[in-house]
Symmetry: C2
Amino acid sequence: MQFFPAPVENLIDHFARLPGIGRKTAQRLAFHILSLPEEEAKSFAEALTKAKKEIKFCRNCQNLAVEELCSICTAKGRDTSTICVVSGPKDVAAIERTYEYRGLYHVLHGVISPMNHVSPDDIRIKELLARVNTGTIKEVIMATNPDTEGEATALYISRLLNPFDIKVTRLAYGIPMGSHLEFTDEITLGRALEGRREI
Amino acid sequence: MQFFPAPVENLIDHFARLPGIGRKTAQRLAFHILSLPEEEAKSFAEALTKAKKEIKFCRNCQNLAVEELCSICTAKGRDTSTICVVSGPKDVAAIERTYEYRGLYHVLHGVISPMNHVSPDDIRIKELLARVNTGTIKEVIMATNPDTEGEATALYISRLLNPFDIKVTRLAYGIPMGSHLEFTDEITLGRALEGRREI
């Protein structure tokens, strides 16, 4: 039984299909759209189709791009001999926000996960090997998430990179800044001890 | 500084403008859209513009409608002598879901709220008076929310309806079904006592 006119129910349905949006929230969002000026709703609709249509993957690093190459691969002054391997475009944004890294990236678009039927062939590992194969790369930084699947993926790729004469590194594990030893889980604390450095 | 291509940032911006959607959630939703098949994103975009374009207000009850009159006003077998006055279309849906009410509605589109600069002229009270003025209405049920503004609006309208020879009623206050006396606030409990009925 529908209690709203069909176009409204249809819009609610679309919102409710988004991850983490329940029926009540979807209803609230749909009514918000109805309260917007028409041009705003139109511009939202255009943003949806445009994002979907105009975004492709960078030919080099597989990051999101509007052109053939992404804005990082075409940027001047970046260290093209270093590749930071991440699982998704959001991780690229997270690392860029530090303003600490000046090398390039490689976006895998996923991690190896037998549980979810994601095999090494399903993520962009071949493309990474091809880049390393050109001989211009000196270091590959594995920056997948420090969970089981991210670790396994990092290990898997680092083995594939063994035959090449390059440095393969992994992000440091340790206590996050601003936290307390008291509340740090034992695995993280163990890794922090293991990775201790001279001051 | 933008870390995603412009079309993606633009889509994130649009999502982030929705009520209750923060930057992180907006990012998650935008990436979900990127992962959808193109037709799905297109159908979402169409749902947005269509809802905005096709929805108008019912000439009679001011509820959302696709035609001149809404589906309730044109439905057969409804009691056209009773009007239930609510503040918004969501309240119509809430009451319809009970399947207990067979009369018509009147949607005010707001409540009187001097704090938010909403005066009686800003909501659809005139339209209600015009309907009552036709002389076919026997009862008006005030079903605005039981908060300060909803109460004040109900009282204001009931006074305007005084000169007419009709019954003006208000929804019953009391303990919600399934709750505990122990946890019911004292105002609700006081109202429940006041409105007690013989079994």
